[in-house]
Symmetry: C2
DNA sequence: CTGAAAGCGCTTACAG
DNA sequence: CTGAAAGCGCTTACAG
């Protein structure tokens, strides 16, 4: 294998200086159009590609974004939150569209993401996904801010205004889900999902749920709220706890689709029909939601758009432009589990 | 924000030369142990990180792997093959464990991956996922080989021995699925999935299916094979075509779980019960499989292990070590859709 | 064990 | 419009 072509090789072939080659390849108007085209043609013919390390070193940027997916480490990869996986798709595409590369990593044991990515010049900015637990992770965020890291975090609004967060309006999502259930005539609506400050997103969904209830002059019954984190198994358990409590209920709103699927399994096992006996509404609209049985009515977060906004926001931040926290609207996808349509 | 520390800053603080700092940070035994530790301590204290672009430029490698997920472009990210997503998880972890970074990208329009990744020094090697269609893509693979690219491709064995492919033994997978169905007393077993050479993986599954049939002295009935590609909708259509054909059958083996889920939906819609009337076995064991209703009996590919092997293989190739094609064993996960367990 | 120096392949002020 | 030259921040042969 003959060794890689450099700009000097191109220069030699084109009979110009290396500087001119460099300019021509960046399509600089300083270079005579004809010369420019000739050089570009030669470069293409020789399969020449600018050495990324050299150009990055010189310009002191990397044209790369790092995506950090923060989840509790498990041995089982199938446990990765399917919602993040959808985001990954749109983030990857949006990054490519902007001419950047994407470095992907799962939660790092590392204590210092800033050093790992920006100081090493591996990435110009960081996108944090699933960084939900502001209590446990507050310290890490502090470090990022302190070092002036360019980063966006997906999730609930952060009380520190220096943190650029982008997320769906979880409060609104919880509100429309419960509003829908109320419109179907249900009054005793259970909520399955952690409502503590360790899960700010779930908590906001819960708060929206409560607000919808209140607006209909219904008191939220805390006996109808059961903690669950974002897995099918946890939803299964929470539904069982709810059933065991013998507190009557007509509908369940879950903080995620995974919880909903687990809850439905628990209900079925006890002979409770969904939606005939109990209506269920989930949250996320992960791909599985439409294949579930019954197909899940759920609150959809527009991952396509979210990915674009996330990427655009870090890039703006990198360019020193003004950026601000954003809350994206959610929408309700009505399928069968709520009983609005019986197929 | 004070500008980034360089090795020269560390050298100044430590009272040694920059070369010594560089050696100390790479933990070279050439440097006096005490000095080495002192320098490392200072570097840590100053949050110093070696500039990746500079070191890569100097050493002419990138310590980065590129993962290319090749799928037909869709606007809907949810369509990304869930199987690849599981692989992504294990590949990411395996890469990190080896001290490499991972660049992720979806199918490129680009004509020359070699130039895009290796010539630009962005990555030392490439992992190709979902590069199933050897007919349409043969040309691209030729280019990669011609340029001596370091790459592995996930999938069926390739007839060009220069292509390093790693994949599950699809033939064996198809065999055990059908063998299981036969052991449950079924004889008329339909196959849903493309069996042409455009889908070498599906085709091998089909061939394994046929072999199991033959071993039981059953002729494969081509009227029981219907093409389907890897989506729920396609499975739905294929099952409808099968039902419309009025050719009797007792069981269905599908080339993927997504196809199985679509097929089950079609069956249900016509009042056909699974597994009471028709037994179904899928392929992949994607996360959804266990949540499906009924829970899918399916052929499991060990994505955890596969990811590790894939990463290890490119790295070996990069280091110039001997590597060879590998076929990983699959295993059958018996759940409810086959009728072996009725819950 | 340590230092001075070359050089990886670019980009970009500076001079013409 | 073009070229000669400096320099980005490292690593590593070379010399001591």
């Amino acid at each position: 294998m003959t060794s890689k072509a450099t700009s000097i090789d191109i220069a030699y072939r084109a009979g110009v200086s290396q500087s001119t080659v460099s300019r021509a390849l960046r399509n600089s108007p300083l270079v005579n159009l004809e010369t420019r085209q000739r050089i570009q043609a030669i470069a293409k013919e020789m399969n020449y590609k600018v050495d990324k390390n050299a150009s990055n070193l010189r310009t002191q940027n990397s044209l790369t974004l790092a995506l950090l997916i923060c989840e509790d480490p498990t041995n089982d990869d199938s446990m990765i939150n399917p919602f993040f996986l959808s985001m990954l798709g749109s983030i990857t595409r949006a990054t490519a569209r902007q001419g950047y590369d994407l470095l992907v990593s799962f939660q790092q044991l590392s204590s210092d993401w800033h050093a790992d990515y920006e100081d090493s010049n591996k990435a110009d900015g960081i996108i944090l996904l699933g960084y939900g637990d502001y209590v446990d992770y507050a310290h890490k965020l502090e470090t990022l801010i302190e070092k002036n890291t360019h980063f966006v975090i997906w999730g609930a609004e952060h009380n520190n205004k220096a943190v650029l967060s982008i997320g769906c309006d979880n409060h609104q999502g919880g509100y429309i889900a419960t509003e829908h259930l109320l419109s179907l005539g249900h009054k005793k609506i259970a909520f399955l999902g952690d409502s503590s400050s360790h899960s700010p997103e779930f908590r906001d969904r819960y708060l929206g749920h409560v607000e919808a209830l209140n607006k209909a002059d219904i008191q939220a019954d805390e006996q109808l709220q059961h903690d669950a984190f974002n897995t099918e198994a946890s939803g299964y358990e929470a539904a069982n706890a709810l059933l065991d409590s013998s507190v009557p209920f007509e509908a369940i709103f879950t903080a995620s689709d995974l919880i909903a699927i687990g809850a439905i399994r628990a209900l079925k096992k006890r002979g409770v029909l969904v939606p005939e006996h109990i209506a269920v509404v989930g949250y996320d609209d992960i791909p599985v939601a439409s294949f579930a049985n019954p197909a899940l009515t759920t609150v959809k977060q527009d991952t396509q758009f979210a990915g674009e906004i996330l990427v655009e926001s870090v890039l703006k931040q990198i360019r020193g432009e003004e950026v601000s926290q954003q809350l994206l609207k959610t929408s309700l996808v009505v399928r069968n589990s709520c009983g609005a349509n019986i197929d």
